[in-house]
């Protein structure tokens, strides 16, 4: 009765977990030296790259979805009920998360060079988060989904608070924590309701039960709606959408910047993966319930994010709210996912592109944060003249986020979304999004402008960023440029996921 385990399929999270264990051991037994710090970073990096290698190897397999952790046939009543499925959707998300993780680790190596943060814990927690983030898109039952989601969330709290003696950091952690646990509890209540109605936790089975056209879905109790809404709420938190958006800026500002990058990309990707799995894969029959909610949440999210971003002076806060707004854009196609088949692919494509450009921005912001205490927008004045590489990268990424040429990646990403929601018949959402794009243009442009206006006094910056910092910046920039030149790459990748 043992479930057969396909170790090749679970290799990516497994490798990460082993790497986490290894990091912990090394940290415990190696002497505390600067070299150890770098070594741990490299081990982490190696683990992530190996995991990424497995993802790529899976991607070059025969392409058919493969699954493991399946219910033995004797118990499954004739259906294939599997908990862990590797298909295009999974691979895209896992690949994106891992690629982003590479950048985040490189950023961490810069951040940790300061020595204020315990290194072993840091990498260990980072890897734990990644295990969750890689597992989440492969999960096909509610249990695995919940566990993976928590695995993504919990280490991040600790990461946020890891800067000891920093009140802002622990304040950020508390805020993140409180909102997170509450939303988790809400989601779990929803999950329990769905389970009670459907009698199964497998998404495929849920899909059958909740399909109004299906055999089982003739008469569903009204509590289904409650369950759907509550479950969605949990994921809405992870993606920092309204009404669970308020934590974003405070947490991003208080947390170390690599963690903010992690929150804004990896954790958000995981949230979206979960949301897509639950809403589109399991609850597509209930689209009548959730589609309008998603649309409204999306509209509110982008509006709130943009309006709040406009009045920020702190760079990280601005990025935080802008990433909230971007969440709204990513969410928008999901509102029409039930009617248009490509919507999931569009959201994913936007997410991938967003990941590249946002990481680029964060990488540069982290560089700047090493020399300025407050990291406000004014500190960026003349950056492109002082440090042309950093300045131009940041400018490019901001322009990308704004969706302007030459940041074509962002532009095309927005165009994908526009097309999808217009095709899906949510014209009003497109209008809201257009207005928001305009608002977004304002603050991105203002920031970009500062990069090029000469600073009043060219303050001598003694800080020489380590090579890892430049590597992080370079990688993110390369990805953003690549996506600008050939967005089709992303589309090809994510169209795989449309079926998922």
């Amino acid at each position: 009765m043992i479930q057969q385990i396909d170790y090749f399929l679970i290799a990516p999270p497994l490798v990460l977990a082993l790497a986490a264990a290894l990091v912990l051991l090394l940290d415990a037994f190696l002497p505390v030296r600067p070299r150890t710090r770098i070594g741990l970073g490299l081990v982490t990096l190696a683990g992530i790259l190996l995991s990424l290698g497995f993802v790529v190897a899976q991607a070059f397999g025969n392409g058919a979805p493969r699954s493991t952790f399946c219910v033995p046939p004797g118990l499954a009543a004739g259906q294939a009920l599997c908990s862990f499925v590797v298909d295009g959707f999974t691979l895209v998300f896992a690949g994106m998360v891992l690629a982003a993780a590479v950048v985040v680790v490189l950023m961490s190596m810069t951040e940790l060079a300061g020595g204020a943060i315990p290194v072993g814990e840091w990498y260990f927690l980072l890897l734990c988060t990644l295990v969750g983030a890689v597992t989440l898109p492969a999960s096909r039952d509610l249990i695995m989904l919940v566990v993976a989601l928590e695995l993504v969330s919990l280490p991040v709290f600790a990461l946020t608070a890891l800067k000891r003696y920093d009140g802002r950091s622990s304040e950020a952690a508390v805020k993140l924590f409180v909102v997170s646990v509450v939303s988790t509890a809400i989601m779990l209540f929803g999950v329990s309701l769905l389970y009670g109605i459907a009698g199964s936790v497998y998404l495929s089975r849920l899909g059958e039960v909740f399909d109004p056209q299906g055999a089982a879905g003739a008469e569903l109790p009204a509590v289904v709606t409650v369950g759907v809404v509550l479950v969605a709420a949990g994921f809405v938190f992870k993606i920092a959408a309204v009404p669970f958006h308020s934590w974003a800026a405070d947490v991003y500002q208080g947390a170390p910047i690599p963690v903010a990058a992690l929150l804004s990309v990896i954790s958000k990707a995981a949230g979206f993966a979960g949301l897509i799995l639950v809403l589109v894969s399991a609850l597509y029959g209930q689209a009548g319930t959730w589609a309008p909610i998603v649309a409204i949440v999306s509209a509110l999210t982008m509006t709130a994010g943009n309006l709040l971003a406009m009045r920020q002076r702190s760079a990280v806060r601005l990025l935080a709210w802008s990433s909230v707004a971007q969440s709204g854009y990513i969410l928008a196609p999901l509102a029409v996912a039930a009617t248009t088949p490509g919507a999931v692919g569009t959201s994913t494509a936007y997410l991938v592109i967003y990941a590249a450009m946002n990481l680029g921005a964060f990488a540069v912001v982290m560089l700047v944060s090493r020399t300025t205490a407050r990291n406000e927008l004014d500190d960026y004045r003349g950056l492109a003249l002082r440090r042309p590489a950093a300045g131009i990268t940041l400018a490019f990424c901001l322009v990308c986020l704004a969706g302007l040429p030459p940041g074509l990646a962002g532009l095309f990403a927005k165009v994908f979304v526009f097309r999808e929601i217009v095709a899906g018949g949510s014209g009003w959402l497109a209008v809201v999004m257009a207005v928001n794009t305009v608002i977004g243009l304002y603050y991105y442009a203002v920031w970009t402008a500062r990069l090029f206006t000469p600073a009043g006094r060219a303050e001598p910056s003694l800080y020489r960023p380590p090579v890892t910092a430049w590597l992080a910046v370079g990688l993110a920039l390369a990805a953003a440029v690549l996506f600008s030149i050939a967005p089709q790459l992303v589309l090809d990748m994510t169209s795989l996921s449309a079926s998922g």
């Binding site: 322009v399 302007l404 040429p405 030459p406 074509l408 532009l411 095309f412 165009v415 994908f416 526009f418 097309r419 217009v422 095709a423 497109a430 209008v431 257009a434 794009t437 305009v438 243009l441 304002y442 442009a445 203002v446 402008a449 090029f452 206006t453 000469p454 600073a455 009043g456 050939a486 967005p487 089709q488 589309l491 090809d492 169209s495």
Partner: protein
């Protein structure tokens, strides 16, 4: 075919820009000639384009290149040239080249002194965007190039501009960005309705498959985006600031090419693709256009600053262009296109001159300049006089034909348009032309004639560079009035026209004369494609 020329037109300046980034130190010493070479090659290519262009069939797309780029969006790398875009491409290449000529021998007094590498880079990228806009035959591609232009122009104003550059550049970019987004929405609307982004196919369809309401909506959206760039009357407010603060090259390219991109968009996309929408909106467009003409002229009369005045004159001229489009007749549109090119040449020249004056006197305030330019600097004064007269539309010079044809077009607008209304427009437009003449003459009388007055605010050349960093701390737009009573500067009268200036201006003067005397040269290119574009209306 010679499909490679359009690509080369884009590739050469792009290559120049990239080389500059990738090997920053290599070209430090040859920067002046560097830009000159790349833009020269581009100009040569555009001339080759002109030479090999099949003048027998200007309405046909030539040198076409059609490669898929992003199949997922249906976006194709679709480039091509026809009679409408050809003159603009050549104009762009020419003006860019002239700008480099101007910079190359401008010596340390020119803007080459500060961040020369970035300046060359910016101008080359700008050229890519401008040429690309005129070449693109795909809606999104058009938009991309249209937007690419913004960034370098923004930096051109924001870094090398005058004292109020920050405010001006931000105003510039915000206006145009907002317009662009609206335009993008319009383009996407068209796309969502027809499912294609191909401009050729769309114009061949003449709006088939799009209901009238959608067409109107799309036309308004696209039109707003283009009108900001053009600029049309209520959306023009960024223009005077941008022009005033931009460096000479920036002003020249802004007036000479960037404004054309807006009007080109009307001719290439808005009118042919959305004929019904155009027909419905045309009266409004005309109304805004004539308001722009009159407003521009009146505003010019009130200006003290030379550059600002020329900028406002652009508003008026572009009003004529828009009025031409609004008529929706071949005559009117031909006139519009002609006026377009002519304005590019003339205003380009005017801004060169204004820049030269500002360089000499360190101000472009007309009262501060005093008068008697013809006496103190006869050659500069005479070129200024020539350009002003061309701009006010003296018959025999390029400025005349376009405006005349536009007024003709308004006299007999397309079927379905209210003729009485357009007659009114014609009358007002004519009045505007008179006013144009008035303000140019007033300007000439103040600057070129009158009693010469020693330039009171002349600084030694090494102090000339207007972009010292400390300037940024001064509040924008609070230009200090010239320091009066500074002692004995009469001996330091700046020189008359330099050789490099002459080199940069002569081609423009020649072309103004050429088109003025032989308008058919240009009209033969534009007429056939206009006929086909208007197939649905006429």
């Amino acid at each position: 075919m010679m499909g490679w020329i359009p690509v080369a037109l884009l590739a050469v300046p792009l290559l120049g820009a990239l080389l500059l980034i990738l090997a920053p130190r290599t070209f430090r010493d040859v920067l002046r000639t560097y830009g000159l070479i790349f833009s020269g090659v581009t100009l040569a290519l555009s001339l080759a384009l002109l030479a090999t262009f099949d003048h027998g069939g200007p309405s046909r797309m030539q040198f076409e290149l059609d490669q898929p780029w992003i199949p997922g969006l249906g976006l194709r790398l679709h480039l091509g040239v026809d009679g409408i875009s050809l003159p603009l491409i050549v104009l762009t290449a020419l003006l860019t080249f002239l700008c480099f000529v101007y910079l190359c021998w401008g010596g340390s007094r020119g803007f080459m002194s500060a961040r020369p590498r970035a300046l060359v880079f910016t101008l080359l990228v700008l050229e890519v965007g401008m040429i690309g806009t005129f070449l693109a035959l795909d809606l999104l591609l058009f938009f991309v190039f249209f937007e690419i232009v913004l960034i370098p122009m923004y930096f051109l104003i924001g870094i090398w501009g005058g004292r109020g550059r920050r405010a001006a550049s931000i105003k510039f970019i915000l206006y145009t960005l907002l317009g662009s987004v609206v335009m993008l929405l319009g383009l996407l609307l068209v796309w969502a309705q027809t499912g294609t982004l191909d401009i050729e196919a769309l114009s061949a369809a003449h709006g088939a498959g799009m209901p009238r309401s959608i067409q109107i909506l799309a036309f308004v959206a696209i039109g707003i985006g283009l009108a900001v760039k053009t600029p049309m009357w209520p959306l023009h407010t960024w223009l005077p600031d941008a022009h005033t603060e931009a460096p000479t090259t920036g002003s020249v390219l802004l007036a000479g090419v960037l404004l054309k991109m807006g009007t080109y968009g009307f001719a290439r996309i808005a009118i042919p693709v959305l004929p019904e929408g155009a027909a419905a909106v045309a009266p409004w467009l005309g109304a805004f256009a004539v308001v722009g003409i009159v407003y521009g002229a009146l505003a010019c009369l009130a200006q003290r600053d030379l550059k600002r005045m020329i900028a406002y004159s652009s508003v008026g001229h572009m009003g004529f262009v828009l009025l031409g489009f609004a008529t929706l007749t071949p005559v009117g549109i031909n006139g519009a296109l002609f006026a377009n090119v002519a304005h590019g040449l003339i205003t380009g020249l005017l801004f060169f001159l204004a820049g030269a004056i500002k360089e000499r006197y360190h101000t472009s305030e007309m009262p501060a300049l005093g008068g008697g330019l013809l006496a103190t600097m006869p050659r500069l004064g005479s070129v200024l006089t020539f350009a002003s007269i061309a701009s006010l539309g003296l018959p025999g010079l390029a400025g005349f034909w376009g405006e005349m044809l536009v007024l003709f077009g308004a006299f007999q607008p397309a079927n379905g348009l209210p003729r009485g209304l357009f007659l009114t427009y014609m009358v007002i437009g004519g009045l505007g032309a008179v006013l144009t003449a008035a303000y140019f003459l007033v300007m000439l009388s103040r600057v070129t004639h009158g009693r010469p007055r020693p330039a009171p605010d002349f600084h030694p050349p090494d102090d000339l560079v207007p972009l010292d960093d400390h300037l940024i701390h001064e509040p924008p737009d609070e230009r200090p009035v010239t320091r009066l009573g500074s002692p004995a500067t009469a001996t330091l009268v700046p020189a008359d026209v330099y050789r490099h200036e002459l080199l940069a201006w002569t081609p423009l003067v020649v072309l103004i004369l050429l088109f003025g005397l032989w308008p058919g040269l240009l009209l033969s290119l534009t007429t056939p494609p206009v006929q086909t574009l208007l197939g649905a209306i006429s």
